[in-house]
């Protein structure tokens, strides 16, 4: 078997396609590295500036009083840019990188502009609306996901389309089978040979890419990032072997190599180029998006209910009761605001998840999802970020309530100045927001998709085996 593998590799090393592949992959990977080095420092700088500003807001408010903190909340939350942004862009341009903390609304002022009735902060999830101002042409990013998903898979077909049909045309296949080698050994030898000869230029290109990126002083790859890169590299190999197996399958069945290449190309175009977008369109046409109109209708009656409730409490004689009515109005208003935002996000998320599930039939989309997941970009990462902010928001509210409870002089009416603790709090004690990424969690959720991809490879490989065993030479 090793003889066959070795022979295949030598055969390929001397060919024109090997040279072209090496040049192409190297050029793409260098482009990718250069782009990353140009843009990543800017991205990190922007993130750090934003975080510093948001932290300043938090400390200023905590410095002022517990009431200010309870009313205005923290500053905006920003998504930490991933170190492995060059591996998969994950549609970042569509995803917002911020969860905003809305300023408290003002419901009523007197003629002098004093606020009689206002609210407290709430989380809101804005759209990344930059893209509807971008008038430039729409092109995909040259990230690893593109290079592997499109180029490497095409190269895999390019290396295998004549694996059997070419040898059959030359007559060498008959010669080889005249020896006492079982057919499955020949198949595995061919498979490994093709996979290895594709891996060589790919590994070379990846090494050059990583060398460029890791030696630059502006980017630091952590140990965890290297681990993730390892996973991504093996993913690339798994994905490539899928197309190698496909190539072998078709090549074993078809007599002429030209026909084999044609069939393979058409299959590739359908699988990789058209299936993802067509399936996504089909998925999105299943679920018509609720128009803003309906959301508006959902929202308005709720607002009026709140008003009615508040009006009851407002006319009460007792001061305590009046303050409580106010506090209830504030918190409930903020909660409803937040719930509305959350509902909308959930609605949209479920739509995206449905579309993703349907597009997963295409191995190219599977790869893209997996790459984005392990690179810490893309939609799942965005949801994790949103979850992080929600957890922190709860934590901060609990902190405010606990601090207030610890003060015996306070009336424990949150959100109203008169009802809250007036003791100064130290800004250091206030919990800070930290955006984190968890690899274990990624792995668990990715297991399903990984399994599916492996299944594709196994099915195609056994298909190739069956085809080759039964074929007449």
């Amino acid at each position: 078997m090793w003889h066959i593998t070795k022979r295949e590799i030598y055969d390929n090393l001397n060919s024109l396609r090997f040279a072209l592949t090496t040049v192409l992959l190297l050029a793409l990977m260098v482009t990718n590295a250069v782009k990353h080095l140009r843009e990543h420092p800017k991205r990190v700088q922007r993130y750090q500036d934003a975080v510093t500003e948001s932290l300043n807001h938090l400390t200023d408010r905590a410095d002022d009083s517990l009431y200010t903190l309870a009313q205005y909340g923290p500053g905006n939350f920003y998504k930490k840019p991933s170190l492995l942004h060059f591996c998969a862009n994950g549609g970042e341009s569509v995803l917002p990188d911020v969860v905003e903390v809305d300023k408290p609304p003002v419901f009523m002022t007197d003629a002098e502009g004093n606020r009689l009735l206002e609210g407290i902060w709430s989380l809101s999830y804005p759209d990344a609306n930059l893209n509807n101002k971008d008038v430039g042409p729409n092109v995909s990013q040259v990230d690893w996901a593109f290079i592997i998903g499109y180029i490497l898979s095409l190269i895999a077909l390019w290396f295998t389309f004549d694996a059997f049909s070419g040898e059959r045309e030359q007559g060498t296949l008959r010669l080889m089978l005249a020896n006492s080698i079982p057919r499955h050994t020949v198949l595995i030898g061919k498979f490994l040979g093709a996979l290895l000869s594709i891996s060589i230029p790919f590994a070379l290109a990846v090494l050059v890419n990583l060398l460029l990126i890791s030696t630059a002083s502006t980017v630091h790859l952590t140990t965890e990032a290297w681990g993730r890169l390892g996973i991504i590299f093996s993913l690339a190999l798994l994905y490539t072997s899928l197309f190698v197996a496909l190539g072998l399958l078709v090549s074993a069945r078809v007599q002429q190599s030209a026909v084999s290449l044609m069939i393979l190309l058409l299959t590739w175009v359908t699988l990789v180029v058209f299936m993802p977008s067509t399936l996504a369109s089909i998925a999105s046409s299943f679920s018509p998006a609720t128009s803003f109109d309906e959301f508006w209708k959902q929202r308005n009656p709720i607002q009026e209910n709140l008003w009615d409730k508040y009006k009851e409490g407002r006319s009460s004689k007792s001061v305590d009761r009046r303050l409580r009515a106010k506090s209830e109005f504030y918190t409930e208003n903020a909660e409803r605001e937040e719930r509305w935002q959350e509902e909308q996000l959930k609605y949209r998320t479920s739509q995206v998840h449905r579309a993703r599930a349907i597009t997963s039939i295409s191995p190219a989309t599977l790869l893209q999802h997996l790459m984005a997941r392990f690179a810490g970009t893309g939609f799942e990462r965005h949801l994790q970020f949103v979850e992080n902010t929600q957890r922190y928001a709860r934590q901060l509210r609990e902190f405010v309530a606990d601090t207030d409870r610890a003060d015996p002089e306070s009336l424990h009416i949150l959100g109203v100045r008169e009802g809250m603790s007036k003791k100064p709090i130290s800004p250091e004690a206030v919990p800070r927001f930290e955006d984190t990424l968890n690899l274990n969690r990624d792995f668990n959720t990715a297991a399903m998709e990984l399994l599916l991809l492996t299944l594709f490879v196994l099915v195609l490989l056994s298909g190739a085996y069956l085809a080759f065993v039964r074929v007449e030479v």
Partner: protein, 503 residues
Amino acid sequence: MTLILIRRELLDNLMTFRFAAATFIMLLLVVANTFVLIIDYERRLTGHNDAAKMHQRQLQEKITYSAGMDRLSADRPPNPLSIFNVGFDKRLGNEVQVSHGVVPSLWDGYMHGSSNPFMDMFASMDIVFIFEVILSLFALLFAYDAFAGEYEAGTLRLVLTHPIGRGYILFAKYIGAMLCLLAPLLISLLLAVILLTTSTSISVNTDDFLRIGGIIFTSVAYLSVFYLIGLLISAATRRTSTALMLSMFVWGFLVLVYPNVILTVIPRSEAPDALRTSAFNRIESIWDTFDRERKHYLVTDDFPGEDWGYELRGWGSRSAYFWDNPRTLMYTYNSIMDFEGFGEEDEPKMPHAQKHFGFLGAQTIDAAGRTWLIRKPALEEIFIQPANVERVWLKLSPVGLYDAATQAWAGTDLLGIRDFFHAARQYRQSVINYLYDHKVFESRQWFAGDKGAADWSGLPQFSFQRDDISTNAKRALPDVCLLLMINVVLFIVIFLIFVKSEV
């Protein structure tokens, strides 16, 4: 003789597996996608209608003109030809606010709420994209063995023993293969158009058919470019396996690699910040002057006090604010007064307030007009020019040319979308004329609804008509001509190679 040659080529190609495969795949993809695209278009149309209705309703609910002018907007319907090439139709804003305080531009537009922005993550699809990828592939597959295959089989020598010029042979090959390639293209397009016309929600008029004709013509030119590239490789290499390999490499490079990589390679030209800042400063000074004059008026008029609301005490809300966005050079002033009724003591203040709002309205319109004079060229330089440079780079590949030309035909290119904002600006002008003609600024309804609410029925209605076919043709023709020129050049080169080659 030429006819015999053409017939031979035609029959040769028609009987092959690749012709069957090409027709089948093409039909499958185009019909399936047209079906999905039509559903998608209908969804967008419903979203547009809902949004337009909501805007109309929100406007009708306002009892004062000043509150209504804050709610007036223009909506862009989806373009039915976006099924062929979606271009910017889904990407750029599809509604824009029309107020007297700001001249609307592309950068003030936004998307109405019925679309899910996350869904843009998935690659979008249109018929031209299918052609872009598949047609080029088929053209190369038909061409790679045209000369190399005959050379290997020895039939080329046989044909050349006849007394025919080599030019005729080349011509016959070209025509024969092109006719074969046209069949799947035309059949699939025909089916797409039939699907389009049977859909009830899409109204296609004569102009649209002409536009589709333009798209078909451009597709044929594009197809021919790739067929000629394949012929060139075939004539130059003389071996089918090498020709096939090279063709695939060229295809991968032109269709996949170049359009995606080139914009990463060329550094993105950012417009100088200095330009933005200086333009914004000039705009800011316009509004500073405006604010000074506004305050000056309040001080010097007959009414004591400087309150812009004339200390009116009634039932309702009032707000006034400056609003700016340095990124898009936006700056405006808005004052809204929405009162349902007044107390007795307010009546003497009314004439003063009315006179003031008359003055303020004219001033705001004037300041907005002067802002636009600065803003328009600045926006052009900051946003449009870098994007145009990128577009030129993309056009170095026939794929880019094809995409640009079909976008222009469909009217979903940047210029087509900007037509909408141009229409919105004209609409704003007609609204302003209406407001002046009916002395709305000086009227009591501008800020109060107690003596009769604002009458919205007389206000001009916005409607957006796409430009006629001649505009589309004018925009598409440069790119189409370039495609045709590439065709001619390639043909000449192949001819030269073929004439000089030994058989």
